[in-house]
């Protein structure tokens, strides 16, 4: 069945990860997405690859059609303008100023289509001293403070070795922006220009940690598996050398936690009676708990804590997750059979809609739909 954006048409002039993942989400919500690549596209074999094609391209291209346009050539630019007449959304993530040089500034595009919801994404914003700096996830990691709160206690901030998180995080904020643009237009008839950047998205993502900086003037330190504001919320070593993750994150969980670990006295201890007290007295409490957990294997604690409705879990990886019933039944990871690259495990949709479910379909090979789209526009390809 259709998604909530059925009938919305997107002119998708995006590259790499940030832009294409955003338009992919729009496509999963049912929008018709036409992805525009330059014919000289060089990204098709960026690692990792699956059967010769860049995996990122495969995963970002769900639900989209792909056309080649050389926007530096007048002929192809006219195709773009014709296509834009019938589009609802324009999305690009080039370096600031680049779309202007292709004749696709907001001024140009809104002349052709005043109702367009026009969104530009960048690394550091469209203007200012850092606007020209290329914005890839590792740079944003360094710049936005993201790594400074992660790592072992006492060590300098550690970089997350899956830096794509900050790319796709930006994509998520882009989608928030575009959806507001579409809603506003539906209510008022008016389109608009929207800007989103990786730095703002990364800072906003860290709001709950910047909170502590706002109070203390200091960056919250990296603390391994634990965190400043909630205790206990960390990994504990068990007898069988595995780590169990435990989180007492709601007040009513503390009493149940103490019962589950066989130490109800702890629940009566005034030093630990509330979260703020536990935070203040963590250096007293944690050694007690370390001692408790190391006495039994991880399974013992999982059973007891789960029974007691206290958040707990263990570290899992791809090999377990792909079979795990919680993942499978909720389609958090899904199998997608592609016409050209075999069957892949891929990300599931991040939301469910009861009325307008949306869908995921394999995407295109670059340029695959150029002829088809030109025909739809009543234009003929040359040569």
């Amino acid at each position: 069945m259709d998604g909530p954006l059925a009938g919305v048409k997107v002119f998708d002039l995006t590259v790499a990860g940030v832009g294409p993942w955003a338009s992919k989400l729009l496509g999963e919500m049912g929008a018709e997405v036409i992805h525009v690549d330059a014919p000289s596209i060089g990204f098709t074999n960026a690692l990792p690859t699956v059967r010769g094609m860049s995996l990122l391209m495969i995963i970002c291209n769900y639900n989209k059609r792909g056309i080649f346009l050389d926007l530096k050539a007048r002929r192809d630019r006219l195709v773009a303008y014709r296509l834009l007449e019938s589009c609802d959304v324009f999305l690009a993530n080039m370096r600031p100023g680049a779309v202007d040089r292709l004749g696709l500034s907001y001024d140009e595009v809104s002349k052709i289509n005043p109702r367009i919801v026009y969104c530009l994404a960048s690394g550091f914003g469209e203007r200012g001293p850092m606007a020209p700096v290329p914005g890839a996830a590792p740079q944003i990691s360094a710049f936005s403070g993201w790594s400074s709160t992660t790592g072992e206690r006492g060590k300098p901030g550690e970089f997350f070795r899956h830096s794509a998180h900050l790319d796709f995080n930006t994509s998520a904020y882009i989608v928030e922006g575009i959806l507001q643009g579409l809603l506003h237009r539906e209510r008022t008839g008016i389109g608009q220009k929207i800007e989103v950047d990786m730095t703002s998205a990364a800072i906003s993502l860290q709001t709950s940690r910047f909170a502590e900086f706002f109070a203390t003037g200091k960056t919250p330190p990296s603390m391994g598996s634990t965190v400043t504001t909630t205790v206990p919320h960390q990994a504990f070593l068990c007898q069988d050398k595995q780590y169990i993750m435990v989180g007492v994150v709601e007040d009513d969980q503390w009493l149940r936690f103490c019962k589950a670990i066989g130490n109800e006295e702890l629940a009566k201890d005034p030093r630990f009676a509330s979260n703020p007290l536990r935070v203040q007295n963590r250096e007293l409490l944690i050694p007690i708990l370390d001692h408790v957990f190391v006495a039994k294997p991880i399974r013992w604690w999982e059973i007891r804590l789960t029974e007691a409705q206290v958040p707990n879990g263990r570290i899992r990886g791809f090999e377990e997750l792909r079979w795990h019933p919680q993942i499978v039944e909720n389609e958090h990871m899904v199998k997608m059979t592609t016409p050209r690259w075999g069957t892949l495990y891929v990300d599931g949709m991040p939301w469910r809609f009861s009325g307008t479910p949306g869908s995921m379909r394999p995407g295109f090979v670059p340029g695959e739909h150029t002829e088809e789209v030109l025909r739809e526009l009543g234009m003929v390809s040359e040569g």
Partner: protein, 406 residues
Amino acid sequence: MSGALSGFKVVDITRGLCGPYCSMQLGDAGAEIIKVEPLQGDSARLMGPPFIGDESAVYLALNRNKKSVVLDIYKKEGGDILIKLIKNADVFIEDLGPGQPEKLDIGYDQLKPINPKLIYCAISAFGEKGPMANQPGSELVVQAMADYTNSLGAIGAPPVRLGTDVANTNTAVFAFQAIVAALFHRERTGQGQRVSTSMLGSLMHMRGVLWGAQSDPVDSWGDGHHQDNYIMPPEYTYKTKDGHVFLSFGQHDSSDPDAYQKLLAELGLTEMLEKDPRFKVARQVLGTVSRYAWEVKGIWEEKFKNMLTQEVINLFEKYGGLAMPVSNYEMVASHPQVQLLQMIREMDHPKLGKIKQTGIPWRLYGSPAEFQSPPPALGEHTQEVLSKLELSEEDIQHLREIKVTL
């Protein structure tokens, strides 16, 4: 009010880090947010130290734009008032867990008849189906289950989590998307619906590239690219005399084909280039995603240990490379680009004077998002909101006596 959601009303019973971030964003976008809290308040009010005055710093960061109404929704009178509030609302957000709202007569199927256009948003920890549907979650538990901690720390060492609360915040962003998309659909069709997100689902979604990369054993182990994610030692970037610096020197960064060699020459590392094959290709030795970065790091750092971060940056930029200081929050807040983006801002708070907030991450030229109001004290708007439901002063006093409100 100028935002895209002006005129819409949201009833929010969520607590902690996730639902509240979502409703804060809905408020930035112009919606009226009625935050219904139990008598003891949102659990975030107890997250700390640090506190600012009486208020938890975390609570303050996540709850601007909202009106706080205290209701014990588990008591009949409280539940009835909640349903009245939802009847007049456009959006209802809950995080009670699958099956729990139904026990309070506030499940979607129960609310739909009294408000058919309602957008109902449910947030769960692990997803609404499956053996873990009714288990409570937490940031760390979800990060670990979603393979995130495997990209941090060292093999065999205690687990390391992301300091950022991604399981919570990314889920809140997806909830915002679902709600606004549903409102868009409703504008076109008049139809409401139920939307849902989960913390586990959000992180599993964000990590999609790694599932694809491991789908085929030959591809997985053939190029080894993403396996580095799992086996490399902790990546701290490059230590300088006064901090750490991120560096990269891609093949196309400079129009001078000898730029990289010149950089090495200036550092006295030309011999490395001649003798050590790992130095031959610039991209292989720098940046955080390079194959040999960690093997040769000590060689670079021997040169950087007597250089200030800014000196290293200047050197790399001279030859067309890219360099950036690894920033802490103090550096972020004082950086001119961040100030231009207005991502660290202040707002007035009636008791605390000026409080800091992270800014609004989208710039909408036609329907600008704005801060509406400071984070409310517990129950600050109970009176105001309940009198709009035509409860009298005596009614509200009675509710206080029977501990349905404060």
